[in-house]
């Protein structure tokens, strides 16, 4: 009974994750310029990764606490902790990389297509000395 509920939760989160990762690909093809493509490519893949990695973490936790068939307890703990590490790395690095790419695109002269307002336009790209890119959350 409990195992069935777990299976359903895992299947639902797997399908949500796959759907959003697929949407990221479609968004990359459909949107008109770099900035909107970054919206699709960053938000959707991060959200999809949360659900896909979350389902694997759930499988690991189930094997850890109930010693599920096919996986020993050691396997379960390793699976859960290492997947959580990979998810943490994705969550930390994805938005920072997107910010760096958006800044680079704007400074190399790509204009947002169809923009109603551009406050940053015409500002000289200052040479910055201190980099605020390290995400020390």
């Amino acid at each position: 009974m409990l195992s069935g509920i777990f299976d359903i939760i895992i299947l639902v989160s797997l399908s949500i994750g796959v759907f959003f990762n697929f949407l990221a690909g479609v968004g990359l093809l459909r949107f008109p310029d770099v900035y909107t493509r970054l919206h699709a490519g960053t938000k959707c893949t991060t959200f999809g990764s949360i659900f896909l990695c979350g389902s694997i973490i759930l499988i690991g936790l189930r094997a850890w606490f109930f010693s599920y068939e096919g996986l020993t307890q050691t396997d379960g703990s390793t699976l859960a902790i290492h997947t959580a590490g990979a998810l943490f790395a994705i969550l930390l690095t994805n938005p920072t990389g997107a910010h760096a790419l958006a800044r680079a695109a704007h400074r190399s002269g790509v204009k947002p297509v169809g923009a109603v307002i551009d406050d940053l336009e015409g500002k000289p790209a200052k040479k910055t000395t201190s980099k605020k890119k390290e995400a020390e959350k």
Partner: protein, 88 residues
Amino acid sequence: MIESTTFLVVLSALFLSVAMAIIRVIKGPTAPDRIVGLDTINTIVIVGMVIFGYSTNSVIYIDVAIVYALLSFISTLFIAKYLEGGEF
């Protein structure tokens, strides 16, 4: 019990979105467009490695995924810096 074919379906759907990102990398009119496609491919490949590692019972793939995530982040930052035209 979740069948292993479920994970095969998940992996092939991920491969489909990687293929769409590759089209963007080939077509992309400007260089930043291509790098956005590359960044998306990196994230999807990390998740794909995690799922592949579970479905083939080899946890070592997940360690590789962690290292790949950090390295791809550094490469994205370097390419962004290069596009900006600043000194390193």
